[in-house]
Symmetry: D3
Amino acid sequence: MPIITVEMWPGRTREQKAELAKAFTEAMVKIGKTTPEATHVIFVDVPKGDWAIAGKLSDDTK
Amino acid sequence: MPIITVEMWPGRTREQKAELAKAFTEAMVKIGKTTPEATHVIFVDVPKGDWAIAGKLSDDTK
Amino acid sequence: MPIITVEMWPGRTREQKAELAKAFTEAMVKIGKTTPEATHVIFVDVPKGDWAIAGKLSDDTK
Amino acid sequence: MPIITVEMWPGRTREQKAELAKAFTEAMVKIGKTTPEATHVIFVDVPKGDWAIAGKLSDDTK
Amino acid sequence: MPIITVEMWPGRTREQKAELAKAFTEAMVKIGKTTPEATHVIFVDVPKGDWAIAGKLSDDTK
Amino acid sequence: MPIITVEMWPGRTREQKAELAKAFTEAMVKIGKTTPEATHVIFVDVPKGDWAIAGKLSDDTK
């Protein structure tokens, strides 16, 4: 019963998310030996202003 | 100090969330032997378009 | 398709976890209008030495 | 490669988040012996109406 | 800077995890337009006795 | 009521975790205007073999 959670910056379209969900599920089923129905994929869009790398918010353009 | 996180599709009303929080906390206190004050319940509404099952986004009506 | 994640200190027995899972699922179904089969409950035991409150690890007895 | 996730009520300004990210990263690098570039900080604003303590939603003023 | 977290029952070998990480990262880069270096994949093995479906722990054979 | 979750490779000692918890809590209180008692810090040690970067498990020495 795998749950795959994807945290990323906003910007991916619905089509990209649909393709990603399909690709992740196929890999999980093929490699991880589970069923498609048991596989959940959850996307979490994290605004750049809420995601810091190296101590700096990612929408900081300075 | 239990933290109970509930990820679900949007649509529950404030009243439903209030009732769920009360029920989860009472179960945690009674069964899990903790205090109400120590029990946190966090609701996360995940849009259907961000939640795929069997490789398909859940708002896909095709 | 609710996913209920419970983070808590270790110490609950298998029986307590089974009872908690049952109680959470029943509340979710009754109040949140979903099905039992769609409801997942995941327990995460967090050692007291990995959980700080007020800046102090919870197994600190000083 | 530490990932620091901060769940809190909304209300902190961009400046506060920038300062928090800086402080957390500096502590992680100094105490945890990692590099700034490897340190991610993610902020998640959880509405008070989605966060219950002692079985009561936190925006409940009654 | 996507972070892909995979919660699943234990049992996958190191080889399976390595293959899954490779497949998820390739899909993320190709479909999600990011770089391999920015893509993290984290596996979390959740014991069956800590994962309930339909109110029943998953190692319950009754 | 901030909850700060820190995912990192294993290896930090109890003393380092105690210092990190103290530093994170002090920053949260000073910058984020909350109380120490309301601030939780949770450490999650993720084995290198469960954390891939650029599609490669982090304990892969090849």
